[in-house]
């Protein structure tokens, strides 16, 4: 979309330049990838006596390969603001921007790169470190800064609840405006590969390594997004010559490219060379799990755990393999052994300068107006939150992060299979709870406290064989209990109301929260129903996002079913479990998928419009979702559907950016 005054949020500074100053003071406290880029503007009303004022906003995805590319963007920003009087806190102000400053954090060298453009006038730049000392500018610093910016842009996921709209005063642009920039990032990746651990890693990684860090994560996401598989593979092959561990990245790209056989061969070769490469082993195990060969998935999973016993992912995978194999006890024991990342948090954009509502200029973009999305009244939503059922708000499972959220997901999958009562029996059989132990071993003669299950253990010996249930897992059991109780009560009420033939009414927020409970508990259909109920009342971004997830999950399930039935017919493999639905004919399958693709397209359109309203033009997960739909349905069909379904809304123009992107990168399905 063309940048307009409606797509530029701003925050007023108390003193012009204060934001830059504050940022440089905080520079040495930045960790991992650091904060989003900052653009600070100085503007004044020409020929007036009122003084210059300062404003700022955050950015991701602004192209910063050189001083001049940054200056070009700053100038265009100044032009947009100066092109006509700006609607400014209730008044019309003919602002002229006289200076624009861009600051971007280089996470490799822990410095800020600062570009200052006087408008009109000179452009200058400098680099400062955490001690506010100037550093020699050079090509390497620029390369690192460019890569840092791309990483932040790609890894700022909007998929997760926790970080939506965290920083409203920011613009998020697509960092890959053309194929050139993507390839430049690939070059930077190869060049900076060894420094990858310096920029940190996802919280479930205990210590960043050469192949587990944010640089690698961003690279893989870029590959998935752009489909530049062959470029990626040749880079990785070169890197592998120096560092054999790179082989697991090659496997990942091959799998993205759908080159399964090559991937399997490489897995075999890599594991032969290093039988203790936990990454390779875990990928292999996950592959076999998807192929439903649990007998083969288990040895790899075990070997992975034995090779990296202090990493979370191998343990989580082992728990899943056991669970799929129906071995609940071992699944729980493996879960209990997962090393938790209690103090790390996932990367997300953070404010570096605290602000208040009165300082925020948050214009409404008028170029895209999708009725129910654009008209969502935040005052009404706030109102709703005040009268919402507090029991729903207080469900702590919603706040779980990183490894805890993942462990909870495994636990809910377990209870989904066993039921609560049976899960408690398993727990009592294999675990001794800390409380229980203390009372047993206490020298004072306390009353023997029994565990939550109400059963006392039988004698010293069986007692010793049990393992101590980790405190965090014990806590997850409690959260699970709350979730289950809420879900069960809700379902019982629904049935009651249906029997009474009365309408079951909830606030949209409440439907959304109920949907989340159901989603956590793997009751996807019930979750989807709740989200749809919420959306019948008003637009709700979280519900929409989760429906998108649901539709994608449904397609995956249909695809797996088709695969399995193909396997059954073709290979006559006995180890696969029985299908819970009858086989679908290819025609039925296509029809079902086409229906889901329509739904996906609709949620993508709505979420894109919502993002656009909040100055966000780039969300990798929406692009990926759309790419898959196009891959299945073809670009022309989809483009026609958008034109037909959303006339005169600006949605056409909005989605054209994505279609353009796919054509640039020759994404499968976009060839016309």
């Amino acid at each position: 979309m063309i940048t307009s005054q409606g797509s530029i949020p701003e925050v007023k500074e108390d003193i012009p330049g204060a934001s830059i100053d504050e940022r440089s003071h905080r520079l040495k406290t930045f960790v991992d990838l650091g904060p989003p880029d900052l653009v600070a503007l100085t503007k004044q009303v020409p020929n007036s006596k009122s003084p210059e004022i300062g404003t700022y906003l955050y950015y991701t995805g602004l192209e910063n390969t050189s001083t001049s590319s940054v200056a070009a963007h700053l100038n265009s920003l100044a032009n947009v603001i100066g092109s006509s009087p700006q609607h400014w806190f209730g008044k019309s102000k003919p602002w002229k921007v006289t200076k624009a400053v861009y600051v971007s954090y280089n996470a490799f060298s822990r410095v800020d790169v600062v570009v200052t453009a006087h408008i009109p006038g000179a452009v200058s730049s400098y680099v400062i470190d955490g001690y506010r000392e100037r550093i020699q500018e050079n090509d390497r610093i620029w390369l690192e800064t460019f890569a840092s910016g791309i990483i932040r842009s790609l890894l700022t996921s909007e998929e997760d609840e926790e970080q939506v709209n965290a920083v409203v005063e920011s613009r998020n642009l697509n960092p890959f405006q053309n194929v050139e920039t993507a390839k430049q990032f690939f070059v930077a990746f190869e060049e900076l590969f060894e420094q990858g651990p310096d920029v940190g890693s996802a919280p479930e990684i205990q210590t960043p390594t050469i192949i587990s860090n944010y640089l690698v994560d961003a690279f893989l996401k870029a590959v998935e997004l752009t489909g530049l598989y062959d470029d990626a593979l040749s880079i990785l092959e070169r890197l592998r010559e120096k560092e054999e561990l790179v082989v697991s990245l090659i496997v990942k790209v091959l799998l993205l490219k759908d080159e399964e056989i090559k991937a399997v061969k490489l897995l075999h070769e890599g594991i032969k060379r290093n039988p203790r490469d936990a990454n390779l082993l875990t990928i292999q195990s996950q592959f076999l799990l998807e192929k439903n060969r649990l007998d083969l998935a288990l040895p790899s999973a075990v070997q992975a755990v034995n090779s990296a016993p202090s990493e979370f992912n191998p343990w989580a995978n082992l728990a899943k393999v056991y669970l799929e194999s129906g071995n609940v006890e071992q699944a729980l024991l493996a879960l209990n052994s997962c090393p938790m990342a209690a103090y790390k948090e996932k990367f997300h954009l953070k404010r570096i300068i605290p602000t208040t509502a009165e300082k925020l200029h948050l214009p409404l973009p008028v170029d895209v107006t999708l009725d129910d999305v654009s008209s969502l009244d935040s005052a009404r939503v706030a109102q709703e939150h005040n009268s919402v059922d507090q029991a729903l708000v207080n469900l702590q499972a919603a706040n779980l992060k990183s490894t805890f959220a993942k462990a909870y997901d495994i636990l809910t999958e377990i209870v989904h299979r066993t039921g609560w009562e049976s899960l408690l029996k398993y727990r009592a059989k294999i675990f001794v709870m800390e409380e229980e132990y203390r009372s047993k071993s206490s020298s004072q003669t306390n009353v023997l406290e029994t565990a939550a299950n109400g059963k006392a253990t039988d004698g010293e010996n069986s007692f010793k064989k049990k393992r101590l249930c980790e405190r965090w897992l014990d806590n997850l059991f409690m959260l699970l209990y709350d979730d289950l109780r809420t879900y069960t009560m809700w379902q019982a009420e629904m049935i009651h109301f249906q029997a009474q033939k009365t309408q079951y009414e909830k606030l949209p927020v409440e439907w959304e929260l109920l949907g989340m409970v159901a989603f956590r508990l793997h009751h996807y259909k019930e979750a989807a129903n709740a989200f749809q109920r919420a959306l019948e009342i008003r637009f709700a971004p979280t519900s929409t996002r989760n429906l998108l997830k649901y539709y994608q999950l449904e397609i995956k399930n249909l695809k797996q079913k088709a695969d399995k039935s193909h396997q059954l017919n073709g290979h006559n493999n006995k180890s696969t479990t029985s299908l819970d639905h009858g086989n679908l004919s290819p025609q039925q399958l296509s029809k079902k998928i086409a229906k889901l693709d329509e739904n996906i397209l609709d949620t993508v359109v709505r979420l894109s419009a919502w993002n656009h309203r909040w100055y966000c033009e780039f969300a990798p997960y929406l692009l990926t979702a759309l790419a898959k739909v196009i891959g299945r349905e073809g670009l022309v069909k989809i483009q026609n559907e958008v034109r037909a379904n959303y006339p005169d809304t600006g949605v056409n123009e909005l989605l054209d950016d994505s279609f353009e992107f796919f054509r640039h990168f020759e994404v499968f399905g976009s060839e016309t």
């Binding site: 399964e260 056989i261 399997v264 061969k265 897995l267 075999h268 594991i271 032969k272 039988p275 292999q284 592959f287 076999l288 192929k291 060969r293 083969l296 040895p299 790899s300 070997q303 001794v432 800390e434 132990y437 203390r438 071993s441 010293e460 010996n461 010793k464 064989k465 393992r467 101590l468 397609i555 249909l558 695809k559 088709a562 695969d563 193909h566 073709g570 290819p586 399958l589 296509s590 998928i593 299945r632």
Partner: protein
Amino acid sequence: MVEVSLTVGKLDASLALLLTKDHHLIEFPTVLLPNGVNAGSVVTIKCEQDLEQEAEEKKAFEDVQEQILELFGKNEPKAPILKI
């Protein structure tokens, strides 16, 4: 092989505190202590490498690897797959 004599200083749910003669304080998993051991007991710990078991496990693991390659890593003509 390593063989050490240790005094049990403290016995806890999962960890025991053992002490060597020269006051090296060692956290030791309680499950690995024999029954009947109490705080104050003296225990002997022997630890040795089991090369035979190691070779056996290696062999089994390699067999599975070959099987995986055989099943999923051969360029046999693919059955037609739906474009989904």
